[in-house]
Amino acid sequence: MRRAGVPIAFSQGFTPHPKISYASAAPTGVASEAEYLEIGLQATADPAAVRASLDAALSPGLDVLDAVEARPGTSLPDRIDASSWRIELPGVEPDTLAQAVAAFTAAGEVLVERLTKQGRRTFDTRGAVAAISVISESAAPSEVTGVPCAILDLVVRQVTPSVRPDDVLAGLRVVADLEPPVPPRATRLAQGTLTAQGAIVDPLEADRDGIPIGER
């Protein structure tokens, strides 16, 4: 913010903090093309100019794609209840993955364990998964020639404790002994409000056209 010259607002108090809040930040070790944050400014600024200056000030690989002026009412976290992910599994045959996905879908509940800040927790991963499918082979990128690479398409609802891509992969291990030979690569493709039709609505949309999110 300082490098970009953005007039960021600070909290009151003995040690003022810049007003930046991240909405459902991606976990460590995954790629993301859809991260959202809200910033508070001291003065009105042109969102396009803020976007451009922040983008220029950030390291390569961190790109600011869009900025809108937030309208009062709902906050960003209220508009994010699901994420879509693409997970590449190098060394896994698409058929093997499809069988694991079928077993996962058929299960009523898939319990996995993870070490959280509160200690070791066991929780269900099946319930949070809104959609899970294997991308057909023809659509798969052949970046690693000669090695099969199955690709998983995933939509996960925001729940507590959060279900992350690696938890779903752990679920596939539980139901079908799926053990990828190398660590899979997960990329978050979108975040937003999950509609009844299964689409994800861009959380900035409401500020862009002025239609409150609840009235869609």
Binding site: R2, R3, F10, P16, T28, G29, S59, P60, G61, P183
Partner: protein, 644 residues
């Protein structure tokens, strides 16, 4: 031939380790250059974790100085934590740089900056992970030349088997000279192989190449002599001194990490060197003479450094920052400039002097109050005379009370334990001082809400200081004194409650003492500890005293010496010290005289304000004190907040 990035292999390991972000690079200010178009390639290492190594000034300065040359490429590498080391060995991933993730073994040079000797085991890990033979003598032209620098390089003898060369003193010009020699040697087709290259470096008289020197020992274990084993190698190797700091305004483009690090600030050295003459202080002895950066250069660096980095904290660094001839104007100028912004200014390393409280007050104008630390170092007036820390009890009380009355609720007092001639009583005086401080503070402020923290470090005698001959106390003596001190502090419950007590136990200090004043035979101990799993010895959770003691017991007896011989033994005037052939400029006779003065309580003034006392540095190094005042002011006088 181009060198592929190891990142694809490394990436697969990252999900399985802690804090993977420290290995990905991508910092603002990082430079990635084309491998093939570089004539000389340096890997620069700080041998500790990324979070500690990244902010290191020395590495950042050399990184920038080297990368400014169009045909030179410099990248950085840091010690990897044991979790990643294990996986790298399992998957055959070599030690890599964080900039372009190139294998360290492919570089021409590996420069390692040692601020402390406790990084030696991490050096071995890095060399080994790089696929470079541990022993310098086993390396070929295919391997990088391993060069040690930093303060510990003033006695590199304990790592003489593992490094190819060491550079004493300031690195800016030294790396350029070494680069020139490597560039020419490569352009000629690497004549004479590695041996010829090292010989060319050694002939500069400012690069120490241990293999060209033989060490002979006396039957009692002491060194008989250290002599060159080649005709054209100098008897003594001299330190480098960068003069005119205004001509070297680095770092200009400080690295801004994505990961969290120990210091997140723009640090500017306001001067180098210190002639206060504290007898325990190696930094003060080996960095002479004092060379100030002018007020205008400091102002310019702060302005440009902040604009480039976006940091909100500025550290005005030096060994005794309040001694800058224009420190008052620097502080008020910067405070005025950044008033009303969120930039905070700090002045570490202050002396015990009410003037410092004024400066700190000035720097905290925009409400941000940094901590105040004062370092009387010794508890009794007597021991402070021994160490030449000229602070009276009155000064200390007055200074701390000034801080309390100016609104500081908490101050930190730093002391050492285990100093030469120290008795239990000298240490117990720390409790009395702390009690006095609280009592006077309460009286002056009328408040019970004031505190002080007493922080204690173990004294380690260092080469090139008047205490280089001194014996160390055993850890048992140190720990015993600290126990008694703690009881004494708490003997008055009301005062004791207002006093925090922090200390390090004596065991790591003893090992640091072994490594500081060790000779080449200590290399066997380091290697043994490393083979037994020793890593990150500067971290209490990784340091194992037992491992060092056992390794010393297993390796030293064959030389007729032991751990005590290196640490608790006092040396006499005629003993050849392992670093005598390494010239810091200090005259050994002067150091001995100062050691004698220490034990008789004779104090030594500072040559910045009193006549030269012939420590030997300026005439032998052809240097001079460079100080202001310049009389200039910081411009513009427009505060940043209102200008923006």
């Amino acid at each position: 031939m181009s060198v592929p990035s190891v990142f694809p292999q490394l990436e697969q390991l990252l999900p399985r380790i802690s804090k993977p972000i420290q290995y990905v690079g991508g910092e603002l200010g990082a430079v990635v250059k084309d491998w093939d178009s570089a004539a000389v390639r340096w890997a620069l290492m700080y041998p500790d974790a990324y979070e500690v190594g990244l902010p290191n000034q020395g590495v950042q300065i050399l990184y920038e100085v080297l990368n400014e040359l169009p045909d030179v490429l410099a990248e950085r590498t840091y010690a990897v934590w044991p979790d990643l080391e294990r996986l790298m060995r399992e998957h055959g991933v070599p030690q890599f740089t964080v900039d372009a993730h190139r294998p360290v073994g492919a570089f021409d040079l590996l420069g390692v900056s040692f601020a402390t000797e406790l990084g030696y085991t991490n050096l071995l890990t890095a060399i080994d992970l790089a696929g470079v033979p541990l022993l310098a003598r086993d390396r070929t032209t295919d391997h990088p030349v391993v060069v040690a620098g930093g303060h510990a390089a003033f006695n590199p003898e304990p790592i003489a088997d593992f490094v190819d060369a060491a550079v004493l003193g300031d690195g800016e010009e030294a790396v350029l000279e070494i680069t020139g020699i490597v560039r020419a040697w490569k352009a000629e087709g690497s004549p004479g192989g590695r041996d010829e290259l090292l010989l060319r470096l050694a002939r500069t008289e400012s690069v120490y190449v241990p293999r060209f020197y033989d060490v002979d020992y006396l039957p009692d274990g002491r060194i008989q002599r250290v002599v060159p084993n080649r005709a054209d190698v100098p008897f003594r190797v001299h330190k480098r001194t960068t003069m005119n700091l205004d001509e070297w305004p680095y770092p200009k483009k400080p690295l801004v990490p994505l990961a969290e690090t120990v210091h997140e600030r723009y640090a500017v050295e306001i001067f180098r060197g210190c002639t206060r003459g504290c007898r325990f202080c190696q930094a003060g002895m080996i960095t002479r003479p004092v060379r100030e950066r002018s007020i205008t250069t400091v102002g310019q660096m702060v302005k440009e450094g902040l604009e480039f980095s976006g940091f909100s904290e500025v550290g005005l660094l030096s060994l005794s920052s309040a001694d800058h001839s224009e420190i008052g104007d620097i502080c008020s100028g910067l405070a005025q400039q950044y008033e009303g912004t969120n930039v905070s200014l700090s002045l570490p390393s202050t002396r015990v002097d009410a003037f410092n409280v004024t400066l700190a007050q000035e720097l905290s104008r925009n409400g941000r109050r940094t901590g105040l630390t004062f370092a009387p170092e010794g508890g009794s007036e007597r021991i402070r005379k021994v160490i030449n820390k000229m602070v009276s009890e009155e000064d200390l009380i007055r200074t701390v009370v000034t801080a309390y009355t100016n609104g500081w609720r908490q101050v930190k007092l730093y002391f050492m334990c285990g100093l030469p001639t120290e008795t239990d009583d000298d240490v117990l005086q720390i409790a009395r001082l702390a009690h006095e401080v609280i009592r006077a503070g309460r009286a002056a402020t009328g408040s019970k809400d004031i505190r002080c923290t007493v922080s204690i470090g173990g004294f380690v005698p260092k080469p090139h200081t008047p205490f280089q001959w001194a014996s160390m106390c055993t850890p048992e003596v140190i720990d015993g004194r600290l126990r008694k001190l703690k009881a004494e502090i708490n003997s008055d419950r009301s005062l004791g409650r207002a006093i925090g007590f922090r200390y390090h136990d004596g065991e790591p200090s003893l090992i640091e003492g072994l490594l500081s004043r060790g000779d080449r035979r200590v290399g066997a101990v380091i290697r043994r500890v490393w083979e037994e799993g020793g890593r990150f010895d500067g971290w209490s959770e990784h340091f194992s005293y037992r491992r060092w003691v056992d390794a010393a017991a297993a390796t030293l007896p064959e030389f007729g010496v032991d751990l005590d011989w290196y640490t608790t033994r006092e040396r006499d005037e005629t003993e050849v010290l392992p670093w005598d052939h390494l010239d810091s400029g200090l005259d050994k006779d002067w150091l001995w005289q100062d050691w004698q003065d220490a034990t008789s309580g004779y104090e030594q003034d500072d040559c910045r304000w009193t006549p030269c006392f012939d420590c030997g540095v300026c005439p032998s190094m052809d240097t001079e004190i460079q100080i202001g005042p310049t009389g200039r002011k910081l411009l513009p006088l427009t505060p940043v907040a209102s200008a923006g």
